[in-house]
């Protein structure tokens, strides 16, 4: 999932085509694929859930710094997950059982090649295709831009990994960013709520239920 949803091939070699063809065959080549390629959608959802619970393990049991890790999870990784999910609904392959019982693996491979790279670009493209949620997306991206800028400052990062978690709400820098990631979470949900009914329904069916 890392390669597919957050990866970018340095060179489009024959080996890259081989990797994608293999993954297309694995996820779409048998009857377990699901008519909307739910097997792959489920992996994407599982990957995000794994990242979320892995945060708990790393902080609680391995004692890793929590500040930057927490804020990145609640901003970049969350936005990336939603971008993959919405992109999947907008552009993902489908089987219409009346006409076919199997996916065309070349079409699935072509789709998989569009899953990686910039989540922001995918979110923008999917929103254009689905035709709704523009205003909400602008709010999402304004918030994300601000969080992204702050987390790109070395002094902010160094500061964020210092505070004791017990006193985190007393830390002005952390508290400001915490409010922003909380608002981003809410804005992402608002964006989903304002999608047109059919894709919203599909998003819920494929990535929540």
């Amino acid at each position: 999932m890392l390669i597919l949803t957050e990866g970018c091939p340095l060179l489009p070699t024959a080996a890259y085509d081989q990797v994608i063809s293999l993954l297309a065959k694995v996820y779409a080549g048998t009857s377990t694929a699901g008519h909307r390629l739910l097997s792959l959608a489920t992996e994407i959802a599982r990957y995000w859930r794994t990242l979320r619970i892995d945060y708990k393990f790393k902080v609680d049991e391995l004692g890793k710094p929590w500040g930057v890790r927490s804020l990145k999870l609640r901003s970049a990784r969350r936005l990336s997950y939603l971008a993959s999910a919405v992109h999947f609904v907008a552009f993902g392959p489908r089987i219409h059982y009346a006409g076919a019982h199997r996916f065309g693996l070349l079409a699935v491979a072509d789709f998989m090649k569009t899953l990686g790279g910039s989540p922001v670009a995918r979110l923008l493209e999917a929103t254009r295709k689905l035709g709704g949620g523009d205003g909400e997306l602008e709010r999402v991206l304004n918030l994300y831009d601000s969080i992204h800028r702050e987390l790109g400052k070395p002094e902010v990062r160094a500061h964020l990994d210092r505070p004791n978690a017990e006193y985190r709400f007393d830390d002005d820098i952390y508290e400001l960013l915490r409010r922003q990631v909380r608002d981003l979470h809410s804005a992402l949900a608002d964006y989903v709520v304002h999608l047109p009914k059919e894709p919203r329904q599909q998003l819920i069916e494929m990535f929540l239920l």
């Binding site: 999932m1 890392l2 390669i3 957050e6 990866g7 970018c8 091939p9 340095l10 060179l11 070699t13 024959a14 080996a15 890259y16 081989q18 990797v19 293999l22 993954l23 065959k25 694995v26 996820y27 097997s39 992996e43 990957y47 794994t50 990242l51 892995d54 391995l62 970049a76 990336s80 990686g116 790279g117 910039s118 989540p119 922001v120 670009a121 923008l124 929103t127 254009r128 523009d134 997306l137 602008e138 991206l141 304004n142 994300y144 831009d145 601000s146 992204h148 800028r149 987390l151 790109g152 400052k153 070395p154 990062r157």
Partner: protein, 149 residues
């Protein structure tokens, strides 16, 4: 093609647009530098930028370069991959700075095609995030661990 006047364009979000441009520039430099090294076995090896560079969200002062090398284990042996990995690590160090590489951190891993295509949904599924702290389920150590030996 979107423009800066388009409300749905990344150009309207300065930090994101700047990160995208920076990521593309560094990945382009890496592409040019790595291509001759991969030339002989490019049909069997693929290098992926992952993490913030993979998402085109890297920032000059804070982002580490993370990568994953996938190889066809029916055509390339482990020693060849280790040599290749060592060479491209040097190249990446010259482009991103050695302190910005993910050596001994999260990625900088290798993975076989067999690992990618098997045990999907099973409890031994290869997924870098799932076993970073431990040995590979098959007993192989993560690449970062080899470097510490």
């Amino acid at each position: 093609m979107s423009t800066i006047d388009d409300p749905l364009s990344v150009d309207r979000f300065p930090a994101l647009a700047s990160s995208q441009a920076f990521s593309i520039d560094r990945l382009s430099r890496s592409r040019v530098a790595v291509a001759p090294v991969l030339e002989e076995i490019a049909d069997h090896v693929c290098v992926f930028a992952v993490g913030s560079y993979g998402r085109s969200e890297a920032q000059p002062a804070t982002s580490d370069f993370e990568w994953l090398l996938v190889y066809d284990d029916e055509r390339v042996n482990r020693q060849e991959v280790d040599l290749l990995q060592a060479r491209i690590t040097g190249i990446f160090a010259s482009i991103f700075g050695r302190d910005r590489l993910s050596i001994n951190k999260t990625f900088g891993e290798t993975c076989t095609l067999t690992d990618l295509g098997t045990n999907v949904g099973g409890d031994r599924r290869y997924e870098p995030n799932a076993y970073l702290q431990d040995a590979h389920p098959d007993g192989r150590l993560p690449f970062a661990s080899y470097r510490r030996l």
